[in-house]
């Protein structure tokens, strides 16, 4: 039995291992931080959020300040898929972001069917906004 935990992570309840959902690479013990089995790269945020203003003219250019913010990119060591992009101040300890009770997870899934693709939920937030806009238009607030 394997349980999907994120877009890229799953837990094999039998082996108690984290796995990559793209290449099935075994990342590490499910009772530990999955990040310990990944590769990390310290990305200068200006490489992703590139300056849009002339850096000779302005200090603030729509790019984050690299002295204040770095991007830690986490990759699967086998297939290179990026699992996380963690924005942190320089030197801040990476966050242990998922810590599950594996025994409880096993008990919870004892009577559940295995799922291999994440279910799609209704897009309720969008539906509510559209309903609100329709109401607003109906009240006479029309836009060009």
């Amino acid at each position: 039995m394997k349980v999907l935990i994120t877009e890229y992570l799953r837990i094999d309840l039998d082996s108690e291992k984290w796995e990559c959902r793209r290449c099935s690479h075994e990342i590490g013990p499910a009772r530990e931080n999955y990040k310990r089995g990944l590769l990390v790269h310290d990305r200068d945020p200006r490489e992703i959020h590139k300056p849009l203003l002339d850096t000779r003219l302005y200090e603030r250019t729509y790019s984050p300040d690299p002295k204040w913010c770095r991007i830690l990119e986490y990759y699967c060591p086998n297939c290179g898929t990026m699992f996380e992009a963690e924005y942190l101040p320089p030197g801040h300890p990476p966050l242990h972001d998922i810590e599950l009770d594996i025994d409880a997870l096993k008990a919870q899934w004892k009577d559940r069917q295995e799922i291999t693709e994440s279910p799609m939920g209704p897009d309720l937030a969008l539906a509510k906004v559209k309903a609100g806009r329709a109401l607003h238009a109906h009240a006479g607030h029309k836009h060009g």
Binding site: T6, E59, P93, I98, A131, A139
Partner: protein, 751 residues
């Protein structure tokens, strides 16, 4: 005195004396720190004991909803405040004990989620006070967030509803009114350094008797704000919406009986709480965490950490915010814990389970732990006029940790969404209008935050505010008729300012404004995220970029256009700033936090609404979606390669599928080459303390210890449960000291 032993009788007498002679009825911690449902009252118990028919309860609930919607429409149509026109309002109904039972389907959740605090205050302190009392026909006004509320710019009108002499429920109407007489116009004074700079502070008091506004009090309030006409008009509007709501509730009671009505309100709350616990139980047991970093106090740049761990076990869910930044003692970006919880309630309903009834019962089963005297649990004299900063973080703080907790659940109640852009990216304004009236308020662009990317689709552009579903971003023509603000550019999507991912965040739009015909007009802006991006990506998606405030000062664009109609080819922020087409202009790029400053006729101010966070690995983005972004001019060609690694023909945008797959495979290999194993990486990366050259507030590696590190001023570490707060120097004094030091150096030490 320690030796004095009081008898039980004397003790009771002393307690009564103290209760009757309290010198100040300030915000009551017993009320303000309790967000849970009250116990069933005798009236509720009796009503439920009669086993009300569930179908009838459903019927009554529908009728109450319709009435709330009608009240909402009344305020929306008649309200004078810009916020009312654009949907920043709500109507609500509360139980007799003050529990928020239901709100208007399109209303702003947080507003109503705040009203039960002042209603509970009125019940506790005014009902039995012979100088006040609560009677049929009374109405109470309130705006001080310390007694409940998001911020003091929102004003509420609350009416008790009596039926045959018995208090059966409360009804309310709340609007973001804007102007409130603070030290800066518009109701959101970032310059407030104490609560006494925040303008009128209405603890809940009676302003209506016999369904009539008391004109003496109205006049006092009008004298306390810059827009007296607005104050009067919207007090009337809120009162009459609440009175209509009252009439509708009485009709329902007369048709179905008081017991059925009371049982409906109570069962609605209890059923919602039961459903919440059932959903919590479905989640896996464990802990997920997220960190949010705010980078500005709106007076200076300073990193403030919000730390959240969500602990879930069985049907308990605990939100642990310990380790969060200490409060500012003289900056307005603090919030009290009650307001913070109201924003949590909003965020849960907006981002995680939008299908649940919009009541306080969704938050009731959730436990919230904080350190006192932090920016999310500020107390006492601390200013909190720009509480929007931490409150907007509360709205989105769910998205990352809840999706990590929620992803495994077999049934999905709503789509997975990354963080929405979470800044109040709009112009706040004030001054004398072209009609000679004093005014101050904010523009409806606050309602145009880009949606976070979804697990199945890109986010929607400028979809809604982060705190509600239904809002309009305003009619510029109406604004131009009422105020000297002229829009030189608006609703143009901010190209290349994207939260990249497999699915990208919905984008924000540019706002380019100037003033004309006033002679006394100004703007302020209240956003952070100029150094550290605000909207976080999910599962490998990137955050939004940083955003800045741009200015072109020392020119008059109208005179320039008179001289040369083609001086500006298009009002595009990036082009204007890089090409500098207007001669003689002083171009600058600044932090998005700007206290009020005067805008002379024709000077230009430019900001952006922001993008939501991205979802998933950029290398998994469908190349055709990348082409679509190019076709729609949302993105430059450089990013198609640099970020997404798509190979295509720039002329016809036809993708070379094979070459793209090859390029992406190579990039994945390159990632493996450049990535370091986690443990080795941490050995090099992690520092034992925060950096010394960046102002930093909050915990570092241990949530039980909190840092306050302001370069050149202080660097201390205190136990997180003993935080007092941080007093910041005047930014002008800091600047003067820098300049004096430079001067000293230039003079070679010859002072």
């Amino acid at each position: 005195m320690d030796d004095v032993k009081l008898s039980a009788e004397d003790k009771a007498l002393l307690d009564q004396f103290l209760a009757e002679h309290r010198l100040f009825l300030g915000p009551d911690p017993e009320i303000m720190r309790n967000h849970t449902l009250t116990e069933r009252s005798q009236m509720e118990q009796a009503a439920i004991a009669k086993n009300p028919d569930p179908h009838q309860i459903h019927h009554i609930r529908g009728l109450i909803n319709a009435a709330l919607s009608e009240g909402f429409q009344m305020v929306n149509q008649m309200g004078a405040a810009p916020g009312a026109k654009w949907g920043d309002l709500v109507t609500g109904v509360y139980t007799a004990q003050g529990d928020l039972a239901m709100i208007a389907p399109h209303g702003i959740i947080a507003f109503a989620a705040c009203c039960f605090y002042p209603i509970r205050f009125i019940i506790k302190y005014w009902v039995d006070d012979p100088t006040v009392g609560v009677r049929d026909g009374d109405g109470f006004i309130h705006n001080d967030a310390r007694y409940g509320g998001i911020h003091n710019t929102d004003q509420s009108m609350m009416l008790p509803l009596f039926y045959k002499g018995e208090l059966v429920c409360w009804v309310s109407s709340t609007v973001h009114e804007g102007e409130n007489g603070a030290c800066e116009p518009g109701g959101l004074p970032a310059a407030a350094e104490s609560k006494y700079d925040e303008g009128i502070k209405m603890s809940p008091f009676k302003v209506v008797e016999n369904f009539q506004l008391k004109r003496d009090l109205v006049t006092f309030l009008q004298n306390s704000v810059r827009d007296p006409k607005l104050q009067l008009e919207d007090m009337k509007v809120k009162l009459h919406a609440a009175m209509r709501l009252r009439e509708r509730m009485i009709s329902i009671i007369e048709q179905f009986g008081k017991d059925a009505f009371v049982a409906t309100l109570r069962m609605h709350l209890e059923d919602t709480e039961t459903e919440m616990r059932r959903r919590i139980k479905e989640l896996p047991d464990g802990t997920t965490r997220v960190l949010q970093f705010m980078d500005s106090s709106l007076r200076e740049n300073v990193l403030q950490k919000i730390s959240l761990a969500i602990h879930k076990k069985g049907d308990r869910l605990i939100m642990d915010f310990r380790g969060t930044a200490p409060q500012f003692m003289n900056r307005s970006v603090n919030t009290n814990i009650a307001s913070f919880k109201a924003a949590l309630c909003t965020g849960l309903l907006q981002n995680v389970w939008p299908d649940l009834p919009h009541t306080m019962a969704v938050l009731s089963p959730i436990e919230v732990i904080t350190d006192r005297n932090t920016i999310i649990d500020a107390e006492g004299e601390m200013p909190q006029a720009m509480s929007l900063m931490p409150l907007f973080k509360a709205c989105v703080c769910w998205t990352i940790p809840m999706n990590k907790l929620n992803y495994s659940v077999p049934h999905r109640y709503s789509a997975i969404i990354a963080s929405q852009y979470d800044q109040a990216a709009t112009f706040i304004y004030g001054g004398i209008t072209q009609h000679g009236d004093a005014t101050g308020n904010f523009c409806g662009d606050i309602n145009g935050n880009g949606q976070g990317a979804r697990s199945h689709a890109d986010g929607e552009h400028s979809i809604s505010p982060v705190f509600g579903f239904m809002c309009d971003s305003g009619e510029h023509e109406i604004n131009e008729e009422d105020t000297p603000i002229i829009r030189l550019g608006a609703q143009r999507l901010a190209k290349d300012r994207i939260g990249f991912g497999k699915y990208r965040g919905g984008m924000g739009y540019e706002q380019i404004a100037t003033a004309r015909g006033s002679g006394m007009w100004g703007f302020m802006t209240g956003c952070e995220g100029s150094k550290f991006p605000s909207a976080q990506g999910l599962f490998g998606g990137y955050s939004c970029p940083s955003y800045q405030l741009m200015k072109i000062k020392g020119i008059n664009i109208f005179e320039e256009l008179d001289k040369n109609p083609k001086v500006v080819e298009e009002f595009d922020i990036v082009r204007l700033m890089n090409e500098r087409p207007i001669p003689g202009g002083k171009y600058s790029s600044n932090d998005m936090g700007m206290t009020f400053e005067l805008c002379n006729d024709g000077e230009i101010y430019m900001i952006c609404q922001g993008s939501g966070g991205g979802y998933g690995d950029v290398l998994e983005r469908d190349p055709e979606l990348v082409m679509k972004d190019l076709r729609e001019d949302l993105m430059s060609h450089d990013n198609a390669w640099d970020i997404y690694r798509v190979v295509y023909d720039r002329e016809n945008l036809i993708v070379d599928v094979e070459a793209t797959e090859k390029a992406r495979a190579e990039e994945r290999k390159a990632r493996i080459q450049r990535g370091k194993p986690f443990e080795a990486f941490c050995k090099d990366w992690v520092t034992p303390e925060p950096p010394t050259d960046v102002p930093y507030l909050g915990s570092w590696d241990d949530n039980t210890e909190t840092w306050a590190s302001i370069p050149g001023m202080m660097r201390v570490k205190t136990p997180s449960d003993q935080i007092q707060g941080v007093f910041m120097p005047n930014p002008k004094d800091v600047r003067i000291a820098q300049l004096e030091a430079e001067l000293e150096a230039c003079r070679g030490g010859k002072g």
